[in-house]
Amino acid sequence: MSAATVEAAGVTESPADKAMIEVRDLRKFYGSFEALKGISFRVGRGEIVGFLGPNGAGKTTTMKILTGYISATSGWFGVAGFDGFDNSLDVRRNIGYLPENAPLYPDMGIIEYLNFVCQIRRIPVGKRKARIDAMVETVGLTSMIKKNIGELSKGYRQRVGLAQALIHEPPVLILDEPTSGLDPNQIVEIRKLIKDLGKEHTIILSTHNLPEVQMTCSRMIIISNGTKVADGTADAIQAQHADTQSLLITARVSEEARAAMSDTITSIPSVLSAELLQRDGERVQFRVSGSGGDELAEAVYSTAKEHSWSLIELRRDVMDLEKIFHKLTQY
């Protein structure tokens, strides 16, 4: 995306190169129900951030506030350098938004609809056709081009939704559950598309699918019950929330040594427990839990060497992201 096309599409670059999205202590009450209890985060240029959380955690509410559909009860946010409360129209000019379930006009044709979006997005008449063609190509709608939106399957509707969000080349993309309701092949395609888009756009996407975040996002923010409970890369969150170190050790051990193996491992000072996972002939696998970071692995390695176990594999067993998610979001 060149700077010239950005200007042509009526999108204004942020005055200062700050965080593309900044949210400070955002709160939202629906009547007496507090849906957001003071959420703060920043998203830098070119990041793909996954918004994770159980249903009703506040993901959609946050997105609706960022896109100007609803107002926060208190707090502050800015997008692309514009104040979310004072410059709502500028904020919206800089965002491409795909709401949950891609609610489009079923009675309109795909091109007719994209043309309407071009009008509202102030894309100059002469550039509209090129932009629409480019979008149809990007999201893979070429074979459907003659159809009405109402005739499309969920997956293709989702693509039209993405096309309208992208057509003005916004610096920020907000996608609410972009892959929900799609079949596995479509999910793979949309994820790939999002990853590609992440090279040029700042993206926030929400999902309750963990592998999706690991595959497509550079960072994740976990929200639970209206509060942010984790923020960082998958690795960082895993490292932070693993209470103890866990190692997987696989070795080939002779019959007589095997009986004593468990006790030998447990006798290492930093080891808390050892659990036999598999035994297949001479080949055994243990999970070793303990404290001490890298030293734990070193200690286990030297013990193995000392007892002449033929080590096949020794690796860190990170706490499953799903378990961390579960631990963080149950209340």
Binding site: Y69, P99, V117, Q119, R121
Partner: protein, 238 residues
């Protein structure tokens, strides 16, 4: 202004894609023609006038225009497309005025289709064009205010039928308000007539374009669009 025009054109196209709009046009043209010649006593009066046509048309408006306006916002609320529209760089009032424009253009097209009547009548004999032009201006103004009330009602609910009934009740009430008041208390009729859609129409359709009547319809429109816009904005706070 551009945004209002873009939304209006989209809304107009969408109306022509919906069965209900075609149904309304057909019913309107058929009924207005049938009533004009059969019950409007056109042939008995012995005068070349469109009086009967305009009287029938305003009555039909009470039933048919709410059917046009009922879907304007409520349908988008139901399907969720309102969220996508409103998160575009548009002011809420632009969304409202655009939708009103779309429905109004639909009304203009419908009325253009009745141009056959004045044309035929003027070929039959001398047709006094004053009341004809007044009548059409009156229909447009009354139609505009009915559509605004309908637009307002459609921001209140996701259910088109509820929007339809509310619009029908409000428009019907203020159409007959002077007649109703007169039935109970005769001297009240003239006072209440200031609030009546019908009384103001009667002035205009005589060919007298009085600013008070025009201001009445435009005030109703402004009031309804304003309330509707607040109602649309209220989603932010609730």
């Amino acid at each position: 202004m551009g945004n209002i025009w873009f939304i209006g054109r989209r809304e107009l196209a969408s109306l022509f894609n919906s069965a209900i709009a075609w149904f309304a046009i057909v019913v309107f043209l058929f009924m207005v023609g049938a009533l004009f010649f059969w019950t409007g006593e056109f042939f008995e009066v012995g005068q070349n006038t469109m009086r009967g046509f305009f009287d029938q048309a305003t009555l039909l408006f009470i039933f048919l225009l709410p059917a046009i306006s009922m879907r304007l916002v409520s349908e988008e609320k139901r399907t969720g497309s309102l969220e996508l529209l409103i998160t575009m760089p548009l002011r809420d009032v632009e969304v409202m005025l655009g939708k009103l424009l779309g429905a109004f253009l639909f009304l203009v097209i419908t009325l253009l289709l009745t141009a056959a009547y004045p044309i035929t009548l003027s070929m039959l004999g001398r047709l006094d064009m004053g009341p004809v032009i007044g009548g059409y201006v009156g229909l447009l103004l009354m139609g505009l205010s009915f559509l605004s009330v309908g637009l307002m009602a459609s921001t209140w609910t996701k259910n088109q039928i509820v929007a339809f009934i509310l619009t029908l009740l409000i428009c019907g009430f203020f159409y007959f308000i002077d007649a109703m008041a007169g039935a109970f208390w005769e001297s009240a009729q003239d006072t209440v007539a200031h609030l009546s859609f019908r009384a103001h129409f009667e002035n205009i359709s005589r060919g007298v374009l009085d600013t008070r009547d025009i201001i009445f319809y435009l005030s109703v429109t402004t009031l309804a669009v304003t309330i509707g816009t607040f109602s649309l904005e209220s989603r932010r706070w609730t």
